[in-house]
Symmetry: C2
Subunit: 119 residues, 2 copies
DNA sequence: CGACGTCGTCGATGTTTATCGAACAGCTCT
DNA sequence: AGAGCTGTTCGATAAACATCGACGACGTCG
C-alpha cells in the first residue's frame, strides 16, 4: 500500500502552489465559498478596503470569531480563487481577485457586491 | 423549560409554508444552495427547460443520485428561494424564481446561468 | 380494484465543515 | 535577547450535510 499523496490536488496543477489559476476556477466552489455569512461579509469588506491584512479585515468585517477560525475562512476563499494573499514581512495582505473573477464569471462579483449587505 | 418550537424558522413568516417570500431571501443562503455541483446543474437545466417535474429534471440534468437524494436537493433549492414547486396531480412541477431573484439580487442569476456549464 | 409512477419522509451512516484553544514560526521593535 | 504582533497548523468536538434504501401517500391508468 503506497503512502497517501502529500500534495493537495487543488495545488498540484497550480502555478504558485496557493492560488488556483483563472482557468481552474470552478463556479460551484466559488459559490460555496461565498455561501457563508462570515466569508461573504469578509469579501464585501475587502471590496471596500481594496487591500488589507487579516487582522484589519477581520475587524472591519465585524467578525468576532477566533483568529484561527478566520484563518480557516481566509484559506477557503483563497483556495476558491476569490482572494489573493501577498505576504510582506509578518503580515499577509489580501486583495479581491476582481479581474480574474470577472474574466471567468462576468457580472457575478458585481451582483454579489451590489447586494444588500448580507441581509 | 418550554418545549422546542415545532415550526421551521424558515417557514414561520412565510406566506405558504414552503417558499420564502422575496423579502426573506438571504444572499448567503442562495449562494450556499448553489454551491453544490449537483444543485447548480439542476438549476442550469431548469433554466433550459423552463418548467419540469422532478423526474425529468433530474434526468435532464444528468444526475445519477437516488431519488431521495434529489428530493433533498430540491428542497434545499426551494427553501433558499431559488425555485418554486407547483403540485399538480401526482407530479411536482418546478420553476426557477427568476423574477424574484432578479428583484432581490439583480444580475446574479444571469451571471450564474451564463457561466460555463459548471466546469 | 390493483399495478404502477411520482414524490416526500424517516432513520442510518459516513463525510465535511465550523469552531476553538494551544502550540508554533517569522517579523519587528526596543 | 526578549517581548509582542501576525498569522498558520494541529487536534478535538460538535453540528451540518450528502447519501442511501425502505416505506408510505397519492394520483393515474388499465
Amino acid at each position: 500500500m503506497p503512502e497517501a499523496p502529500i500534495y493537495d490536488p487543488c495545488v498540484t496543477v497550480t502555478t504558485d502552489g496557493m492560488h488556483p489559476d483563472v482557468s481552474e476556477l470552478r463556479l460551484a466552489k466559488v459559490l460555496a465559498a461565498l455561501g457563508d455569512e462570515g466569508r461573504l461579509t469578509t469579501v464585501q469588506a475587502l471590496a471596500r478596503l481594496g487591500e488589507s491584512d487579516c487582522t484589519r479585515l477581520q475587524a472591519d468585517a465585524g467578525l468576532t470569531m477566533s483568529r484561527s477560525t478566520f484563518s480557516h475562512h481566509q484559506k477557503v476563499l483563497r483556495e476558491a480563487g476569490i482572494l489573493r494573499a501577498r505576504v510582506q514581512g509578518s503580515r499577509r495582505f489580501l486583495t479581491l481577485r476582481r479581474d480574474d473573477l470577472n474574466a471567468r464569471f462576468p457580472g457575478l462579483l458585481d451582483a454579489i457586491l451590489a447586494s444588500p449587505a448580507s441581509r
